[in-house]
Amino acid sequence: MNDRRRISAEAVVIGGGIVGCASAYYLARRGVQVALLEKATIGGEASGRNGGGVRQQCRDRRERPFAIASVKLWEGLQAELGFDIEYVQGGNIRMAANDARMESLRREGAEELEDGLQVELWDRDELRRRAPYLGDVFIGAKYCATDGTANPILTTKAFGWAAQRLGATILTRTEAVSIGVEGARVASVTGRDQDGEIVVEAPWVINAAGPWSAALSRAIGVEIPVEPARSVIAITQRCAPLFREFISSHDLGVYARQAREGQVHVGGTNVPPHTFDQRAPADVLEHLARGAAQMIPALRGANFLRSWAGTLEMTPDKVPILGYVDRVKGYILATGFSGHGFCLGPIAGKLVSELVVDGAPSLSLHEVRFSRFG
């Protein structure tokens, strides 16, 4: 076997999740010769295992402009990627089960309107009228009509395929094991596949390895403050069409969406930190079942068919890290999405391409800069 192959590129992306694939896609679209290294398969981790929500409302104010800009991209994505990614702008309902929650939704809604995001506040009667399938524990909700859902696996893969069609080199089952630095600038990424090592030389390195981004970066002295966390989703057998919104309740600790084929995906809003374990524990499945039955009483007649878990990467303030690293030229971080990467993936990828090609992004990255963690 050839145990040390070399290829060269203009940019190398680490990680075949949605952020990495979108980065490769937008870079390739700008004419950059890009290579992507993925340890297993495209969309095989959190990007393909998440709830499929594409949401702008209920974001941290620092993150909100990115979500709004990303949805603008999402609206054209299906046509652009040339693949049915099941994107639907069916709206997003965040419910309140008590006055305190309703009050905080009200405050948040005012801020969102100020920031240019159209949302509606629903009282109990409006909620009954607009979402009669919801349980009677809720006293009101906030609704964003332009939010929606998509198929996480297919979207991520579609980005990868589209990047490939534009000439990107996608190396799957190739784990990035080290980042090469020469002087003050990145020079390469070394990957390992079944045939041995492969060195991709490039003046730009984009670390989009999510939960695995920290370990790689540590070796070149850049400590990324991300912690792994487990997110579990259970899915029902096919049900008759019940709802098209993405719905969530932090009071019950669950969210749900109904996929096009009728299965209802139910996930938890709390994610236990400090674990790479991707097995779904029994108590979490029970929590999801109880929450689902309370949130959507019609599901009391349904069965859970399957569950899975994915690993998120959480930053201390649950806002992503996107941008240059001051000390290491050519090194771009696109990580720490804290469970919001699916919605933000397209805009993150586009901004990465602007950092490489234009040297200046079309949206300020000040609030998501790496150096905020000092």
């Binding site: 893969k157 395929w161 779904a280 009391r300 859970f304 068919l305």
Partner: protein, 458 residues
């Protein structure tokens, strides 16, 4: 709520019953969980108690074994699924109304096998069934699934089923045996020594076939099922040594029910969930847990016996069950695992028979080449071979990747029907082995369970 037990046995067929009995006789506290109304599994399947009539010898044997187990103190948990397995040997049980948890110090898996799925044009037509389903309807519910049966498959169980059908008054238009069994069985004659019960059962079935003038066609197989709303006829053909239909040999045969008995696939999902290392062993039916001489898997304290660890039939399951029951009891502090030396010769005899059975009746690759591009491979999600082919063109090269792109394997059967079909198709298209292409990872609940049963804890 989590209950504690020393030994949990999953599956009350011959292997599970013998394991539970051996462990209880050694002094261990044993719970035996089974998802049927009556313990016994497929081999000892009992007629529903609402029916009167004399039980068969198998049914009498199964009932006696169950009584022995109960007398030895085994706690029987019937009509209960084990839908998950978690850290520290916790099994999740569901009886349709509520979930309970059972934590064991040792677990013996005896979950058996299911009929090997085969895809060919028309296989999803009403009237195409597995031999196991046809047999279950007769044994348990005394229902004939049709009037004119064609049996296609391999192995002596087909003779048994044909005889049962004939005795029940059905017409059996033919029994197709895919393996060219007759010259080759002589090479294995030694393995038949001391298998008098099996030989006499085979002979008796054979005589029933002769009496009813049922054609037994060796070296023949199913190629297609045809009919408007349900099966009306089958296309059958002579097979070559690799079980590929020989062009020009096709015949049409009228029937309303096709029973497919192409052997079994081990139901290994629980051993996978418990972290037991698996091996790809086509001669044992597919993916099976690796085991030591005590039937222990690579997961400490997790044992696997019978068909779920490699297709070998009831007699082998009984011996393996006795060994595992005794070993597990010794592991938790009861007895000295004396069944292992005591059962050594019986084990060797049954393993010889298992090898002969595998050599004679393991289907050839042609069985997996009957499907066409418009044939459905995943029937829950209605995914055709062409859609799987498209996923391969997009770069997928494993069963799991095809699942993610096409939904094939995401449906209600949890991949039990389609994963093998899709894996064999990928292997054939990509030139990789089925082992490389892989099976689907287990995703609990391994059986669909009511949301209300999961959310409610008794």
């Amino acid at each position: 709520m989590t209950e504690q037990v020393e030994i949990a046995v999953v599956g009350a067929g011959p292997g599970g019953l013998c394991a539970a009995l051996a462990a209880a006789q050694a002094g261990a506290q044993v719970a035996l969980i089974d998802n049927n109304r009556h313990p016994g599994g497929q081999y000892y399947r009992q007629t529903a108690r609402e029916f009167r009539g004399a039980p068969s010898s198998h049914q009498r044997e199964g009932a006696a074994l169950l009584q022995q187990a109960i007398a030895a103190g085994v706690r029987i948990i019937a009509e209960t699924n084990v839908w998950g397995a978690f850290d520290d040997k916790v099994l999740a049980l569901n009886d349709g109304a509520a979930t309970t948890y059972l934590q064991a110090r040792a677990i013996i898996l005896a979950t058996g096998a299911y009929d090997r799925p085969v895809a060919f044009p028309g296989w999803t037509l009403p009237g195409v069934m597995t031999a196991g389903a046809v047999q279950t309807l007769i044994k348990e519910q005394r229902i004939l699934a049709g009037k004119r049966f064609l049996l296609a498959g391999t192995g002596p169980l087909q003779l048994v089923l044909a005889a049962e059908l004939a005795r029940a008054g059905a017409q059996v238009v033919a029994v197709l045996e895919g393996s060219r069994v007759f010259p080759r069985v002589l090479q294995h004659a030694g393995a038949l020594w001391n298998q008098w019960e099996r030989l006499s059962e085979g002979l008796s079935s054979w005589l029933t076939l002769a009496r009813h003038r049922i054609p037994y066609r060796v070296g023949w197989g199913i190629v297609a099922a045809e009919g408007a709303a349900q099966v009306e006829q089958a296309t059958i053909a002579r097979l070559d040594g690799n079980w590929r239909p020989i062009r020009g040999s096709e015949e049409k045969i009228a029937c309303d029910t096709i029973a497919l008995g192409y052997g079994f696939v081990p139901f290994n999902t629980l051993s996978r969930l418990l972290g037991a290392r698996q091996e790809w062993r086509p001669e044992l039916g597919g993916e099976v847990p690796a085991r030591d001489a005590q039937m222990q898997t690579s997961a400490p304290g997790v044992y696997a016996v019978g068909d779920c660890a490699g297709i070998g039939g009831a007699a082998l399951a009984r011996v393996e069950g006795q060994i595992a029951g005794s070993a597990a009891a010794a592991q938790v502090g009861h007895g000295t695992a004396d069944a292992i030396p005591a059962r050594a010769s019986a084990l060797a005899r049954e393993r010889r028979f298992q090898r002969m059975y595998a050599a004679l009746f393991t289907p050839g690759v042609g069985l997996y080449e009957l499907s066409q591009d418009d044939t459905i491979l995943c029937r829950c999600e209605e995914i055709t071979q062409a859609e799987v082919r498209h996923a391969l063109a997009l770069g997928a090269d494993t069963t799991n990747e095809v699942k993610l792109i096409t939904r094939g394997g995401m449906g209600d059967c949890q991949g039990r029907m389609c994963a093998h079909l899709i894996a064999h198709f990928i292997a054939r298209e990509t030139g990789r082995s089925v082992a490389q292409v892989g099976m689907l990872p287990p995703r609990p609940p391994i059986f669909p369970i009511p949301i209300t049963a999961l959310g409610v804890t008794r």
